[in-house]
Amino acid sequence: MGTKLRRFSRNPATKAIAFILFVLLITAQIVSVQYVRFQGLNPDSLFVENYKDSGSFEAEVRRAISFTRDVLAGKAVPKQYVEFYYYINDIDNTWTNVKDASREFFAQNDTAFYAFDNGNWATGENTNPAPVVNDYYSNYDYGLKQYYTIYIAFPKSFMEQKQAAWQKNADRLMPFVIAFVAGIIMELLLLGYLAAVTGRKRGDNELHASGLDSVYSDLQIAFIILIPYIWSRIITGAPYIDQVRRAPMNTAQIFSIAYVVLATAAAFTAVGLLLLSMIRKLKAHRLLKHSLLYLAGYFVYDFFKSLFDGRRFSNYPLTKSLFYRQLLFICTSFIMVLATFLLIAARTFLCILPPLLEAGIIYWFVKGSRKTFDDINKGFNESFEGQMKSERMKIALITNVSHDLKTPLTSIISYADLLSNEESLSDAARDYVKVLVDKSNRLKHIVSDLFDLAKSTSGNMPVEFEKIDLKRLVEQTLADMNGDIEKSGLALRTKLPEGVFNIMADGKKLYRVFQNVVDNALKYSLLGTRIYIELENRNGTAVATIKNTAGYEMDFTVEEIMQRFNRGDKSRTTEGSGLGLSIAESFTQVCGGDFKVDIDGDLFKVTIQFKLAQNQVTAIA
């Protein structure tokens, strides 16, 4: 699938349009239902083809039958002009509204003929028997005697007219039904799409929560149930204005429809948003966890767990005893309170016993806890002192080892020098002595670097903070190293913007930092390439970057190069202690800055960051 499609489908505008369409469709459906109601269209006409089989006609027949019963019971005056023909005979009397009251006459109207004679109901050839089969009146107990004769028939012309109206009704309803079904399909599709893309954004595959997601799930469910309920109450409460069928809607009805539109749109917008929020939460697997019920359950669980869970204390004897004592105290106190109430209820004088016992328990608890706290304090102080002691020992160790290394080294260097001035030496011996002198001098540098690093990383290095200009420091360092830079044959490109970069740091240490980093770049750059040194102000932070192209393949990680004694070239042939970058990093940190190394192919990049001092204005004399 193309990313283009994904970009489109995850576009917020697309999502918004889909959602609005969804709400509009639902509203339109509800309105059309309301409209159908107002138009008095009978939905039965869709399912029942013929009027004679319809419920409406069944009701007509029932009315007619009940009319005959009322006549027989003497409750109704037989009317001459009704929509149907009738003939009623109870031997004594005969009531009818036709001249020719023969069964044949009635049977002519074969689609709507009902007859009761010889104690049985019969119907016309094409008549729907439902009214007489189902009707309560078929029960003999209700006064329908064996000897009664009843004929009912609806005239053919009446039935044909009704059938035509029925058909028209169906024809008018059909478009609404098709639109309704299409609407439901559309809504399901839109809902599916929205469910799929909700919480997703262009450009990533993360799940993004929105404001509504912070509502607890059970509250969301409550709203999803409550809102449609209120909505249905509003809708049914909407003024239903019956009217002359097929006439255009009147003003009252139009207002009623507008009322329904607003209520529906509002309700389904709310429900839709809540539903999508729940889907997002489901996708993020926090639908359950992010609910009040879950939280309440978890709280209860955690309460009992923390009350009875002594496992995490079992490793520490002091807290273990504290915990069990506390548990015992809570339980016995609870029992004592319960016992007091019971004894008071029993109205015995013994009810003062549990409080007395409780006092004893409190005394025991406080006493025991105090002892435990004392022990904990003691242990804490001991460990603190131990730490201080080890810190002091570390300083002493550095100083002593430093002295012990430097003293013999002094002798070596001095005697090597004396030896090199000895005139009686052979040429070979002179060469050897030269090696001795060189290597002892290198050892001197390594030892010195090593102790600088040891002191700064162990936090035993005094740092003199003062306000210095980082830009000036970089310029000074580069000017100071000018000789080395020229010797190296590498070009230097600097980009130092105008202005002052005042920071709080130790100038001497920071000089070492830049010296080491530039030195490193000079040593390991590819011949003929350039070293880039840049300084910039990034939102109140001075950022210095030193970039160079390595003259060899840097097949190591940043972590490896920053480890003490590591050098880029595995052969370790170049001069230097291998501590340069470590010292630079440690010194930067000691000064309160940030030191970072990046390796990108052959590009070696060091970034040094310092917070700029507050008042930038101060110039230097």
């Binding site: 013999p408 080294l409 001095s414 004399a621």
Partner: protein, 233 residues
């Protein structure tokens, strides 16, 4: 004049012996002591022109010895120590030492420092100070503003006009830090615009002329991130 006698005080025999040989090679006479107390005795009884003194020693350490010696004698003291912290150096110098050299030292450099101290003490130490108002002196540096000449421990050093004016500015305001721009404007009489490099080049040249070890200057110092100054002694 007789050969100068130098007292070497170090509890490490190898180092003392090496120092003795190095000094003898430079034509000095050498006495040796292995702790602070012996050193004190020898300073009082013998005629000694300079002391090389270790700090960490039995019986009496170098710093206390320096204090004691200073009560009686004005001879140059160079402290030789494995302690390389700035605070150690400042402590040693403030106790009355004239120089502070960290172990392991470069023998040539140490000899140069010995020579410099002796020269200042024997030839030149007592005469100059504050006699003529046209002389600005900081430690072993003396600038004669009439003759436009600089002497380092009594030895004349040749300076270019710019170098001279930089030194004059810094020495007459010893201890004060000047930015490159200030120096440039005072010396070149032009508006300064990215002059750090120009000034630094001159500073380096001056250092090579007046410092024993230009990489660890005693006088002309860079205050990193701020400017330059001549250390007040």
């Amino acid at each position: 004049m007789d050969k100068a006698r130098i007292l070497v005080v170090d509890d490490d025999r190898e180092i003392s012996n090496a120092l003795e040989k190095l000094l003898v090679r430079e034509d000095y006479e050498v006495s040796k002591a292995y702790n602070g107390l012996d050193a004190l005795d020898m300073v009082m009884t013998e005629s000694i022109q300079l002391i090389l003194l270790d700090i960490m020693m039995p019986k009496l350490d170098g710093l206390s010895a320096t204090l004691k010696i200073r009560e009686k004698k004005n001879i140059p003291i160079i402290i030789l120590s494995a302690k390389s912290e700035d605070s150690d150096k400042i402590l040693g110098l403030s106790m009355g030492a004239d120089d502070y050299v960290t172990k392991p030292f470069n023998p040539q450099e140490l000899m140069a420092r010995v020579k410099s101290q002796l020269r200042r003490y024997m030839k030149f130490g007592d005469i100059g100070n504050g006699e003529r108002s046209s002389r600005i002196c900081v430690g072993g540096l003396c600038l004669d503003t009439d003759a436009k000449q600089l002497t380092v421990d009594g030895e004349q050093v040749r300076l270019t006009a710019k170098e001279y004016r930089i030194l004059e500015l810094l020495m007459s305001n010893a201890g004060i830090v000047f930015s490159a721009e200030k120096i440039y404007e005072a010396v070149w009489n032009e508006i300064a615009y990215s002059v750090e490099n120009t000034v630094m080049v001159h500073i380096r040249r001056i250092r090579e002329k007046i410092e024993i070890n230009p990489k660890e200057p005693n006088y002309l110092k860079v205050v990193w991130g701020i400017g330059y100054k001549i250390e007040k002694v």
